[in-house]
Symmetry: C2
């Protein structure tokens, strides 16, 4: 399908239910299919519920109650739900979701499949496996060697990533215990620094005693700190990494934070120094996490440089480690970089196409080279978290994880046998080699429908996510252009945190002349309180946004620059060490057009002025 034949507005219900009738018709068709299917399973069977029974009070009472409970539910949903469909929603990582995926989810709910085991989901287990392969392809993995699946969310996917890293890192020691001759002469330090490839190759040789090997790995013995190594994460880390380190028994003392730079990306020099320090102390490195789209700033870590560091350390010092990319948020945006042949485009070619096809406006420079390089390097990560329920625009709950080498699965699988061995049916028993057990087949169906409909390249998701990125940059440019607004005779400055790597814009207001950071934080907090999705009646809110607190504890001095631009001194920053910003995730597919953004921008500024005029009184 040609790009010019793909109107993304036809994918969504629309802020004014513009596609409502289409949606309803499609829904009714899916319901009817289901209702007739029920009848058609052994048509000779008599109905169990008779017409007579349906006329009884005891029957009709239950129906009446059902309707009134549903009315109550619908009323509660309408009274308080966040208006994600509207361009007025500039808050959390939420937006419209695809009509097709809602309908796909709903259709599959009628059949209520459970993808834990194939017998419970003959239709949707194959969809989940197909979707897993789609994600592998999207992220640059060799689909003949890699594997992936849907998870309930990004947190569990991150935990599964750490589970892989932890169990794989313990295999060399386990093999030493069971078949010492295979690692003869290797020191503990060498065993702790084998590459993932080397470990998996070695594991192939102990297939005949696999259960024994695993019993001597962390799976059998439990965590043994002496053999564990450190798990390195950017200081901007999502709290799921704290949870993961706790749950996996690694302990927070074995998690090492690396400072972020002024772009809120993990500082590579600091990372190198951190690794050097550990190597000097002969402390192994369990793995490094790079975040592709931080949840608070949308920052894209320099994954390519992390990969390069690993290569350098391998070559120069015989030191290796696992790399996990937490692309829960940003993963799907790799579509932008892929052409119709699934080729990762050259930089200039990409930029030209983005402009030529009107995905990114001519005066917007995106992607920066750093972002481009990071996306390219995803194919080198050992595992990647990627959530369809974020930039895949499908309904909750659908997280995902992919692994580069499917041989890794045997390190966490319940099965003694090799999961992907030829001829085995076990790949269908998902629950036996992922963290979760029962899982909704409907989630897989919902993602499957999205992938069937929208190509995972520049013509499909690329165009859709591109619109959101363009929208974020339009919003950023409006902030830059606006600079100040007048509120009751007071000039109020407006500044964005950084030129966004992705589709999230953090920003803050400060009255000209105010140098009190606490006061400035108070103003922005109050602005948020009047613009949050909480507190009824939601229908009266002009705009909805979210907020976050950028504190020294998490970011060192990276936020200082914003404070300075807003007229706060370095001394003041050093005293308060925390800055409150408004946080707009511009996921809306409707804000990619300048005319829409400009129209809502004026309204937005009016709304902010009105709120500020009360706050500044």
């Amino acid at each position: 399908m040609k790009n010019d034949n793909f109107d993304i507005n036809a994918l969504f219900l629309g802020p004014k239910s513009e596609n409502g009738q289409f949606f309803k018709d499609a829904l009714i068709s899916c319901v009817d299919d289901h209702l007739f299917w029920r009848k058609d399973f052994h048509p000779e069977d008599e109905p169990i519920i008779s017409y007579q029974e349906k006329k009884c009070d005891s029957f009709q009472n239950v129906q009446d109650r059902t309707l009134s409970v549903l009315d109550r539910l619908s009323a509660l949903m309408r009274e308080t739900s966040a208006p994600w469909h509207s361009p007025r929603y500039l808050g959390h990582m939420n937006s419209e979701v695809l009509m097709a995926s809602i309908l796909g989810y709903v259709t599959a709910v009628f059949y209520n499949a459970n993808n834990c085991a194939y017998e419970g989901s003959p239709a949707t287990t194959p969809m989940e496996l197909e979707v897993g392969m789609d994600l592998c392809r999207l992220l640059g993995y060799d689909t003949s060697k890699s594997w992936g699946h849907i998870t309930c969310d990004g947190t569990i996917a991150n935990m599964e990533g750490l589970w892989y890293a932890r169990n794989i890192s313990s295999l060399p020691f386990a093999i030493q215990a069971v078949r010492p001759e295979l690692v003869a002469g290797k020191t503990d330090w060498e065993l702790a620094n084998m590459t993932v490839d080397q470990i998996l190759d070695l594991a192939q040789k102990v297939k005949d005693v696999w259960d024994d090997v695993r019993n001597n790995s962390v799976r059998g013995l439990g965590v043994q700190e002496s053999k564990l190594g450190k798990w390195i994460v950017p200081q901007s880390k999502h709290y799921s990494w704290v949870k993961a380190a706790d749950v996996l028994g690694i302990g927070l003392q074995n998690v090492v934070d690396v400072q972020v730079d002024n772009h809120f990306r993990m500082d590579i020099d600091v990372l190198e120094q951190t690794i050097n320090d550990l190597v000097e102390k002969q402390i192994p490195i369990l793995g490094v996490v790079a975040v592709i789209g931080t949840t608070e700033e949308g920052a894209i870590d320099y994954l390519d440089k992390v990969v390069a560091l690993r290569e350098k350390f391998q070559k120069e010092k015989g030191v290796s480690f696992y790399i996990h990319a937490d692309a829960a948020y940003g993963g799907y945006a790799r579509s932008i970089f892929l052409d119709e042949e699934n080729r990762f485009m050259e930089y200039d070619e990409l930029v030209n196409r983005l402009h030529a096809e009107g995905i990114i406006d001519n005066d917007i420079v995106w992607p920066p080279k750093d972002v481009y390089n990071a996306y390219k390097a995803l194919e080198k990560a050992d595992s990647i978290t990627i959530d369809p329920h974020k930039m895949g625009y499908v309904p909750y709950a659908a997280g995902g994880i992919v692994i580069k080498d499917k041989r890794m699965v045997d390190s966490i699988s319940f099965f003694a046998a090799y999961v992907f061995e030829a001829g085995t049916t076990s790949p269908m028993l998902l629950g036996s080699y992922i963290m979760e057990g029962s899982k909704a087949g409907a989630s897989a169906a919902s993602v499957w429908v999205a992938h069937q409909l929208i190509p995972l390249n520049i013509t499909g998701y690329g165009k859709l996510i591109g619109a959101s990125i363009n929208g974020a940059h339009l919003f950023y440019n409006m902030i830059a252009k606006t600079k100040t607004i007048e509120v009751n005779g007071i000039t109020v400055r407006l500044e964005a945190l950084v030129n966004p790597d992705f589709n999230m814009v953090d920003f803050a207001f400060n009255p000209e002349g105010n140098t009190d950071l606490n006061y400035m934080n108070e103003i922005n907090l109050k602005l948020w309180e009047q613009s949050s999705a909480t507190g009824v009646p939601i229908l009266k809110k002009d705009f909805v946004t979210s907020h976050t607190d950028l504190a020294y504890e998490d970011y060192k001095d990276a936020p200082e620059n914003l404070a300075l631009r807003l007229g706060v001194t370095s001394d003041e920053w050093n005293k308060v060490k925390s800055i409150r910003v408004l946080r707009a995730c511009i996921l809306s597919p409707y804000l990619g057009l300048p005319k829409v953004t400009e129209q809502y921008w004026d309204d937005f500024m009016e709304s902010m002025k009105k709120k500020l005029s009360c706050i500044l009184k």
Copy 2:
């Protein structure tokens, strides 16, 4: 609402879509509500998608593609989905789900809330908290002290239970490190044997240094085997416990299996001996799991006796341990035991009511005293897994966990502050103190609707689940009555494994005179192959059932009795040590009536005869 006013047939779509029109009407009403809500958020905003745009090829192409992808999905679902709505489905732990819960789920999907944080789910987070309280009440907990929430499934709930046990058990040592005076004079053995109550009381005293304490607990230090203790599970253990021990860093070597008795319930004498042996060796016990409804037999462990053992060990030897009840499957059935005032009925009173109200047939003896006592004791467990998507009859994915004492949350929470401290809003930030992060608000809505509609006592869920239990016992009685069938002149014996504790019946066939256990296993495997939900066309299957393998490795000699009753000798059992049984989870709400069961039973026997006549040729 009086029981006689509650017709459970009005709760389901019906095997022949008998309530199809009602369902469709309700669905359309929920859709319309949503479509108009979108329009009503700032009615002054112009539509973004114009009538003109909708007429363009590029728009209509996307719509056409959407419809054809949905057609394909619907076709795949109908071609291969398991017919859970039909009384002909006697397989896995699946059945019809509540119309109201499907509609609740679907309605909530339109608003796509995320219960990770309140801002993403102002409507559905309160529903999740309410549902958590419902489950606490159902399981006998004091709702002013307990807490619970929805999980993505029972596996993650079990892991969360083990997470609690592991982190709580490490707190005394952490407190010793931070405030030694509080545990002065206590030996390591005494610290490892404090009761959960004692630990939580002690934790209250170190509130001011809570972060310090946690950094000195397993959360900060990682797993330290020397302080861990053993996690005791019944040998029938669900594989989620193997996964949990791996993920939580405990290691399988620290999991101790306890043999099951002839009812497939954890043998209490063996459990006592196991604990005694550990105590003698001064190895602490991290916790004991009792299963309320094993997945392969529906067996209910003697939870009351586990609790009594703990009391005895506490009193006599100063030994204590955590108790987790894995009631993922059986938990909701506690409704049967509760009267309209939420009182756990006396045994005789209960049996009388069950008969008087026609929930359990007069000639069926259920519950056995052991089952009654186990259900009563649930209120004594420290945490309980209970899955709404099993006996709550709601769609996937909705597992659940409840904890007896909400102070436990601080041991796993991300927050440094106390989660449930008065005045804090943090209880709304679910993602910060459960395993998962993003989670579908729709799951909570779906369970909430079910609980609003159906009382969690004998008049509501009690009647519904009672019907399934009655159905299972009718099925069991038919097996017992049938004893043998004639197939082409060969007499074939039919025997059930045990009189079911719950609503699952395992059974097997063997030709009279055959003493070859391998041959018998082969016959039953072939019967399953011809009756499984896999392999198209599903619409042609007469009946669908599942199967399982009861092997010595997991069950010791418990399955031998079935082999003997089918004409296989002890010697043969000792040689083969494994028996293949067909496994029928009778969850269907329609099989509680003798006339329905009897009618389908005749068809079922005919179908089995037809299959056997091919197999035995």
